[in-house]
């Protein structure tokens, strides 16, 4: 008897069809896994199924009743988000029963009564923490379990939706989580398990739905298929013969050499980068790629290992030194780490290169305008004028502004972190072409971090796959998407150590 069912769900956003006529049904007492690449439509589906979004077309019914008639039915879908969103300065018990109205607690809040109420809920999940502890004092794994406890505290749910629940868990904690899932399953709850980790999907799941480009492309009992079937379905159509953007001018000179580098979220990473080369870093969100690059750049700490840049030893933890030496980091979070929102395009571009435009009495604005004009023309930045505030530019043009800012400072190495995040297809191609040109014409080394497999494969001369903070494989540009996927999902046991040419 189906408990949660969606029929013909379609959800469109301006310019994109995020979900295209999806049918999906969830049965009680079953673990239903949902897999797909980033942007495949998983999040949109979740939001439709939990009532955050209203689908443009299609029907959702819970326990055979349409949610259009009774939106309160969404309360029967318990959702555990990927990120931990607990109140860290409140106790475990308080977190469990927030909001208090729903828990039937009125008037004065008695900590003692709350704690008494919390004990059975925690016991049910085999949690050992005390209910009067502050959330910030308990381990991350317990916080993750607490989120599940909170979602299930009232026992009035039929469907439990877990979004990437194991990203912050150790192997042992994961096993504990799985035993809880088994228990809930035996109680007749429907479990929806969303994960990038395919080994876990096969370990815990009963059936799987694969998403690609907003469509549900496959469904199967997991007993009937293997990992490679899922990977093939997930990557969808093989790469179409689109233009590729490798650098055709790779020099033999080594630009950057990283030896056994260890930092906060990565360990023992070694690789080399040549002048004029585009080196792709593939991996899942949280694989440690951004952290690795930010540590090399000097924004995050390095604990062990060494870096040589242009055959010279490197100074750590000093972004000023990095930029002076010609290493630039173009951040993934453009809004919070890239742009200077209230300043003009002009100031945003020239901020790295004020030395070039000094006049007799400080910064010479006419000289600055000339320099900025060249950058705007060269990097095809579309702005009403160079005095326009950068926050009013589109994401693509903000990205080009940041590229222009770095380029006029005569860089030797550019680190692009998700350069096309939130950028439309046409502009994406512009940026790929720009990267290729930069590498070929100026002999600049480029490191490209991207979660989009197509992007990595179309732009990189070589690809390094990272999993869990370590290098999980190195591939040439002719490698297949499936091979790399295996590595970034951590499926290959024998890690190929990057061979230094």
């Amino acid at each position: 008897m189906t408990i949660l069912e969606a029929k013909g769900i379609t959800k469109r956003f301006p310019g994109v069809c995020a979900l295209n006529s999806v049918d999906i049904a969830f049965e009680p007492g079953e673990v239903h896994c949902i897999v797909g690449e980033n942007g495949a439509g998983k999040s949109t589906l979740i939001k439709c199924l939990t009532g955050v979004y209203t689908a443009d077309e299609g029907q959702i019914s819970i326990a055979q009743k349409s949610v259009e008639d009774d939106p309160l039915l969404f309360n029967r879908v318990a959702y555990v988000p990927q990120e931990i969103d607990l109140f860290s300065y409140m106790t475990v018990a308080e977190n469990l029963f927030m909001p208090f109205d729903r828990a039937g607690i009125d008037g004065t809040i008695s900590q003692k009564k709350l704690c008494e109420k919390a004990v059975p809920v925690l016991q049910r999940l085999g949690m050992t923490i005390k209910p009067d502890m502050l959330v910030r004092d308990i381990p991350v794994s317990q916080q993750q379990l607490l989120q599940i406890a909170r979602a299930t505290a009232f026992e009035d749910y039929d469907v439990l939706m877990l979004d990437e629940p194991t990203t912050s868990l150790t192997v042992k904690d994961t096993e504990h989580l799985f035993s809880i899932i088994e228990k809930l399953k035996s109680e007749g709850k429907a479990i929806i398990f969303i994960s990038h980790k395919l080994d876990e999907v096969f370990r815990i799941g009963d059936c799987v739905s694969v998403f690609c480009n907003g469509e549900k492309v496959a469904y199967s009992r997991l007993a009937d298929v293997d990992v490679s079937w899922v990977v093939v379905k997930m990557t969808g159509r093989s790469i179409n013969e689109k233009e590729v953007f490798y650098s055709d001018n790779v020099s033999n000179d080594v630009l950057l050499k990283v030896n056994h580098l260890t930092g906060d979220l990565f360990s023992d990473v070694s690789f080399t980068l040549h002048k004029g080369e585009i080196l792709g870093f593939a991996g899942l969100v949280g694989a440690g790629r951004s952290e690795l690059m930010q540590a090399i750049f000097g924004y995050l700490p390095v604990y062990q290992g060494s870096v040589e840049f242009g055959k010279k030893p490197w100074k750590y933890g000093n972004t000023h030194y990095a930029v002076e030496s010609g290493m630039f980091y173009l951040p993934e979070e453009r809004r919070s780490q890239g742009i200077l929102p209230e300043l003009s395009v002009r100031s945003n571009i020239s901020v790295n290169t004020l030395n070039q435009v000094m006049g007799n009495a400080g910064v010479s604005v006419p000289k600055e305008r000339n320099l900025v004009k060249t950058a705007i023309d060269t990097y095809e930045i579309k702005a009403a004028s160079m005095e326009q505030k950068i926050k009013f530019l589109s994401g693509g043009n903000q990205q080009k502004t940041i590229i222009g800012r770095s380029m006029i400072a005569n860089p030797k190495l550019l680190i692009f972190d998700e350069p096309t995040k939130g950028i439309d297809v046409k502009t994406k191609t512009d940026i790929y072409r720009l990267m290729k040109r930069i590498a070929e014409e100026h002999g600049i080394g480029i490191i490209l971090i991207s979660s989009e497999m197509d992007e990595i494969l179309r732009c990189s001369n070589r690809v390094i796959a990272m999993y869990n903070g370590r290098i999980a494989g190195e591939f040439s540009s002719s490698a297949s998407k499936e091979e790399i996927m295996h590595s970034i999902f951590g499926l290959e046991e024998n890690v190929e150590v990057a061979a230094n040419e």
């Binding site: 930029v323 890239g338 200077l340 929102p341 300043l343 901020v351 790295n352 400080g362 009013f392």
Partner: protein, 334 residues
């Protein structure tokens, strides 16, 4: 907030003027200032007398100096509440050197400036190295500086300041009070620093986005320390000139400077969150604040009411820009 849509605006000259005024907060506060001057001139026969204008300019010089320096910190989203007590302590130390130490008054004043700069530097080091909140840290430091002042002076005013420096505080040159010349020099220097120097550009970058500034390779913490030192230097200058104005060095100097300097910046359109505004706005804001207290006296407001009334006017002046923004966004929604 979000006005990315670029729908064509109907061409209405008054509307366009209104819009450009509300967009430019310096112009807006400038207009408020002019209106207040007109009102004062029309309603009080004493406003445009030489004596009154001199005393007004002298007030503006002190608050203005501190406000213009303070604006640099507001531009990076921080503030210094110890400006008044840095001024007091520098003034007192300088006064002691002249009187008890019998040191040349001008060398004493130079030392006073150095001491003030050092206090600012200490503020900056504490805040950057220990990663403290600037407001909390400088509230603490202002108590420290005030305490040291009390220990040194035992609560008494230092008298016997050599009369040759009185000219710097009390005197006038071409009928303009001497402190006002100092103010103009400070204003010009800080305007150049903020708008034309390389470091000034970095100040705006830091105020806009501190993380991005680090990634751009700006030495964020060094610049922060530099700004606190500048604020210390200018506060000490104001404090020493005030000693010359009073003829004595005493603990009560600069009590209302922290609040007045910050209010001046906000009235002048500098955002407390940083990155937006100009030191010029701080100058206009300081003029407005001094004008308010001047006019209140001229209009013969009851002494007990003066503080409340000037407070209300300051709040109104601060509220004006945001009221205009709210009005505009409502208009747009229609």
């Amino acid at each position: 907030m979000n006005n990315t849509n670029t729908t064509a605006v109907k061409s209405n000259p008054i509307g366009t003027l209104f819009k450009s005024i509300t967009k430019n907060s310096v112009m807006l506060s400038g207009i408020v200032l002019v209106l207040m001057i007109i009102v004062a001139t029309v309603f009080s026969p004493y406003f445009l007398t030489i004596f009154n204008l001199q005393s007004l300019l002298r007030d503006i010089a002190f608050i203005g100096m501190v406000a213009v320096a303070q604006s640099l910190l507001l531009l990076i989203g921080e503030l210094d509440l110890s400006v008044g007590k840095i001024a007091t302590l520098s003034g007192v130390l300088c006064g002691l050197m002249m009187t008890v130490g019998k040191i040349n008054p001008f060398i004493s004043m130079l030392c006073g400036l150095l001491v003030g700069t050092f206090f600012g530097f200490v503020n900056g080091i504490l805040i950057t190295k220990l990663n403290l909140n600037s407001m909390v840290a400088t509230i603490g430091m202002q108590s420290v500086y005030a305490g040291i002042t009390l220990v040194i002076t035992k609560g008494k005013a230092i008298t016997g300041i050599p009369s040759q420096i009185f000219f710097l505080g009390k005197g006038s040159l071409f009928t303009i009070p001497v402190p006002f010349y100092f103010f103009v020099i400070v204003l010009a220097a800080i305007l150049w620093f903020a708008l034309r120097s390389k470091t000034g550009r970095y100040v705006y970058a830091i105020g806009n986005n501190r993380e991005a500034s680090k990634i751009i390779g700006i030495k964020v913490n060094s610049i922060r320390v530099l700004l606190y030192s500048i604020v210390g230097l200018v506060s000490a200058l104001a404090g020493i000139l005030y000693v010359a104005r009073l003829g004595t060095a005493q603990a009560a100097i600069g009590n209302n400077w922290p609040m007045n300097s910050i209010a001046a910046c906000v009235i002048g359109g500098i955002l407390l969150t940083g990155g937006v505004g100009s030191p010029l706005g701080a100058m206009i804001g300081a003029s407005i604040i001094c004008l308010i207290s001047n006019v209140i006296v001229l209009f013969g407001v009851n002494v007990y009411w003066q503080e409340a009334v000037s407070g209300i006017v300051v709040v109104l002046a601060i509220a004006l820009p945001s009221a205009m923004t709210i009005l505009q966004s409502k208009k747009r929604q229609k």
